[in-house]
Every structure is written in structure tokens, then in C-alpha cells.
């Protein structure tokens, strides 16, 4: 009984505490630059799309809200023909960013995406692709991968020898 009255008293005293509620649209919280909101697609230092359409983000997505189709340019460089994310299903878990092997998908602090029409929450590649490299400057997947696809000469990657001349006789 006494403890009940004590807890009532303590709760009553909360009246004189500072409010934790933030008056959101008028007042906005500070969001750190690495805060994880919605995704964007970034670009390589050479300004072409970082996304290589490997489908790992789609596979990692627990709500299956990413779908894409791979295609290639004339040099064989992979890129998504379309890249669609249904933000009305997205749970902002960030697993797509974790799965992305090329730093193409990055999460930005944007979360204010409410729409009156749910259809407008379906984002296509042109809605997602930004003009910069995002958080990871200078990284180019093709420099560390084995395929050349016009980004480098064959064997011109960061950790590669020149291609073997298989017709040479020297052992």
C-alpha cells in the first residue's frame, strides 16, 4: 500500500521534469551524417554507376522490397537496367548496405518520405542515384575485381600482374 502511494508520488513528481518529446516538424533532432535512413545509389570516382547489379541487396532484403535487372554496356560493364525499391515495404534495416559489395548502396539521413499516395513510395533508379561517391571516396570496385570491362586494362587492377603470355617458352 505504502509503496503504491510512493510510486504515485514519484510519478506525480515527473510533472516537473523536462519533457522528452521533440515538437518534430517545428523542431528537428540532430541527425549524424552516418545516420541510416533511406538508401541512395552512389557513383564511382570515374562518375559511372557503382552498382554492378549483383542482386545481393535484393537477396539480403528481409521484406524483399528491392528488385532489379542486370544489363551490360558495350564494354561488358554491369549495371542495373532498372533498380526499384518499394519504400512502402522497406523497414530501414540497412542489410542492403551491408550486403552491397561495391559501396553503391549507402544509407543517408533522409527518412522524411511520407506520401499521401502509396504508389509514390516506389522509387526507381533515377530517384535513388546521386551524383557523388557518398561516404566512401575513391573506391572503385573494378580496380580490385578481376574483370576489366573498360575501367582498366586487363591485369591493370590494384593487385594484379600483367596478363600472362601463354605462348612464351620461358618456364
Amino acid at each position: 500500500m505504502l509503496s503504491n502511494i510512493r510510486s504515485m508520488w514519484l510519478v506525480f513528481l515527473r510533472m516537473f521534469h523536462k519533457r522528452v518529446t521533440v515538437q518534430y516538424p517545428e523542431k528537428k533532432n540532430y541527425l549524424p551524417p552516418r545516420w541510416r535512413g533511406r538508401i541512395v545509389l552512389t557513383r564511382d570516382p570515374d562518375h559511372s554507376e557503382r552498382c554492378v547489379a549483383c542482386y545481393l541487396c535484393a537477396a539480403a532484403c528481409p521484406v524483399d522490397c528491392i528488385s532489379l535487372q542486370a544489363t551490360e554496356d558495350e564494354k561488358g560493364r554491369r549495371y542495373p537496367e532498372f533498380f526499384r525499391i518499394n519504400f512502402s515495404r522497406c523497414i530501414f534495416c540497412g542489410l542492403c548496405e551491408d550486403a552491397c559489395p561495391t559501396y553503391a548502396i549507402q544509407l543517408v539521413p533522409d527518412f522524411e518520405m511520407a506520401e499521401y499516395n502509396r504508389q509514390n513510395l516506389v522509387y526507381e533508379k533515377q530517384d535513388l542515384l546521386i551524383d557523388g561517391q557518398g561516404k566512401y571516396h575513391g573506391y572503385n570496385f573494378y580496380k580490385v575485381a578481376g574483370v576489366a570491362v573498360g575501367v582498366k586494362e586487363k591485369g591493370g587492377g590494384d593487385n594484379e600482374d600483367k596478363p600472362v603470355d601463354i605462348k612464351k617458352l620461358i618456364p
Binding site: 504515485m8 514519484l10 510519478v11 522528452v20 518529446t21 515538437q23
Partner: protein, 318 residues
């Protein structure tokens, strides 16, 4: 003024004020809960969010008035009406000031007890008519709870009746000219207060509608204005119990003369309403069996003891 017209005016006024207060309590409760939980509460609709009540009302009026196919339709409709009517009837006997009261009934207190017993029907009927296991479970719990707590609710009031020598609420207030009864009747007050919570099935005694166990208890199947009646009925119940506490133990309209009596009554009443809300903000719900054993094993002996001592004292000092 024609006394008949004055009566009708009082009646309409009391009805309007009480229902408005009850509706307003929806806002007050949400706001106060927020205040005690470091939040802000509804503050978007109108100044300080005051129009939230309006918004809620509009919403609830325009909701589809839906009755489940499996329900007993007539009883289903009847149940929420009983709760409103029985509580509103009780307000008729409450003396807000020496002049403002609907009737000056010489068995006012008994009338209140009778009406609050009727309130149990609304829960039983609602739960039964819903034809749903959670509703029925809620109804069974509710009826058991109300029946049990009514016993010593009545008994706890007997101390006041003995001291005032009347069932007339007007007389009881008048009898408190020397000392408010909460001092001699402190035990009776505490027991009545607890029983009042149980009667209105407010937290922590909201066992008939314990949402974590029973969905929404007896009113699981209700929506729209029928649910609204249960909802408003609950706030009317709070107001009623607060008004009775004020009348029986805290001298009714009495107070220093710089404020008119009706204001004193309302201030006192609101203090108790806020205590009701504070309890919701702070106390956890007991188990059902704990509730029952608490009532029968502690409160009932306590109220009997209180009646015995009060009677003895009254006889001794006579």
C-alpha cells in the same frame, strides 16, 4: 421563476455539464498521463490541443455502427445504454450546492448504491451479447468484481450515515459543518475510494477489460458510438465517484467564502479525478485472484470494523 422550469433547467444543466466534463476528461486524461510520463500529450488540434475532444467525438460519431453477425443484437445495443443511464441517474441526487441539485432525495445514498448495482448489468449483458470468449471472460470478471466490491462499498458508507444520521446527501453535507468526515471516517474513506475504483473498473482494477489478456474485455466487439458510450460511461463513473467522495467526506460545496460553493465543489471533484488519472499513470494491474482476495479478506473486515467502531463511538458520545 416557475419551480418546475427551475427543476427542468437544473436537470438539463447537470446533465450537460456532467456529460461535457466526462467527454472533456478524455482530453484531460491523455494530457495528464503525458505530463506524468515526461511527454506532451495531445497538443495539435486547436489551442493546447483542446479541440482533440471534438476531433475524437467527430471521429467516433462517424464511425460505422457495426454489430457482429454472431451477436445478440438487442442486448448488444441495450448494454452500453444501461451504463450511461445508471450513472447519469445517480447525478440526480448529488447536491452540487445548497441550491443546485436535481432532487433532494431522503434515500439519496441508497439510490446511488442501487444505481451502481445496475451498472453491473451493462458489463454482463455486453459480454454475453458479444458472443465472444474474451468478452464473456471480461463480463464474468467484471460482474464478480463489482458484486464483491459493492458489499463493502455500502458498508464503508454506513459510517458516514451513522454519523450524519441520514441517507440524504444534502443532510450529510450539512452535517459536516464542524469537521469534514474524512477525518473521523478515514478508514471508511479509503475503503470507499478503493471500492469506487473497482466499481468504475479503472486502472489498476481494470480487470474486466485487461487489454493485455482479454483484447478489450467485455467491449471487444463494440465500435463507433456504442463503444463511445462505454468510454464516456467510464469517465462519468470517475466523475460520479469523485463527486460522491467530495460530498460524503470532503464537505461537499463547503469552503472559504471567497469562492462560490459550486466552484469549491468542482475544485474538490477535480482533485479526485486527477488522483484517478495519477493512479492509472503509476500503478500496475493486480492479478484477478489478488483483487478478489484483497476485497474479501482485507477490505470487507476493515469496513465492518470501521462500522463497529463508528457505531460504538456514536453511541458512547451521545
Amino acid at each position: 421563476m416557475n419551480p418546475i422550469w427551475a427543476h427542468i433547467l437544473t436537470l438539463v444543466l447537470v446533465l450537460l455539464v456532467m456529460v461535457t466534463i466526462a467527454a472533456g476528461l478524455i482530453y484531460v486524461e491523455r494530457r495528464m498521463l503525458a505530463v506524468w510520463q515526461d511527454r506532451l500529450g495531445p497538443n495539435r488540434v486547436g489551442p493546447f490541443g483542446l479541440l482533440q475532444v471534438m476531433a475524437d467525438m467527430i471521429k467516433i460519431f462517424f464511425k460505422e455502427d457495426w454489430i457482429p453477425k454472431f451477436a445478440d443484437k438487442r442486448v448488444f445495443v441495450l448494454a452500453p445504454m444501461i451504463v450511461m443511464i445508471s450513472i447519469l441517474m445517480t447525478f440526480a441526487v448529488i447536491p452540487f450546492t445548497p441550491l443546485i441539485s436535481v432532487v433532494n432525495l431522503n434515500i439519496g445514498l441508497l439510490f446511488f448504491l442501487a444505481m451502481s448495482s445496475l451498472g453491473a448489468y451493462s458489463i454482463v449483458l455486453a459480454g454475453w451479447a458479444s458472443n465472444n470468449k474474451y468478452s464473456l471472460l471480461g463480463a464474468i470478471r467484471g460482474s464478480a468484481q463489482m458484486l464483491s466490491y459493492e458489499v463493502f462499498m455500502g458498508l464503508s458508507l454506513m459510517g458516514v450515515v451513522v454519523m450524519a444520521g441520514s441517507f440524504n446527501l444534502h443532510d450529510i453535507v450539512m452535517a459536516q459543518n464542524k469537521v469534514w468526515y474524512f477525518i473521523p471516517q478515514i478508514v471508511g474513506f479509503v475503503v470507499f475510494f478503493i471500492a469506487g475504483i473497482a466499481e468504475t473498473h479503472r486502472l489498476p482494477f481494470d480487470i474486466p477489460e485487461a487489454e493485455s489478456e482479454l483484447v478489450a474485455g467485455y467491449h471487444s466487439e463494440y465500435s463507433g458510438m456504442k463503444f463511445g458510450m462505454f468510454f464516456v460511461g467510464e469517465y462519468l463513473g470517475i466523475t460520479l465517484i469523485s463527486a460522491l467522495i467530495v460530498t460524503l467526506y470532503f464537505g461537499g460545496w463547503r469552503g472559504p467564502h471567497f469562492l462560490p460553493p459550486v466552484i469549491w465543489f468542482l475544485i474538490k471533484m477535480f482533485v479526485f479525478i486527477l488522483i484517478f488519472i495519477l493512479m492509472r499513470a503509476s500503478l500496475p494491474r493486480p492479478r484477478y485472484d489478488q483483487l478478489m482476495s484483497y476485497g474479501w479478506k482485507i477490505l470487507l473486515p476493515l469496513s465492518l470494523l470501521n462500522l463497529l467502531i463508528t457505531g460504538a463511538c456514536v453511541l458512547y458520545f451521545k
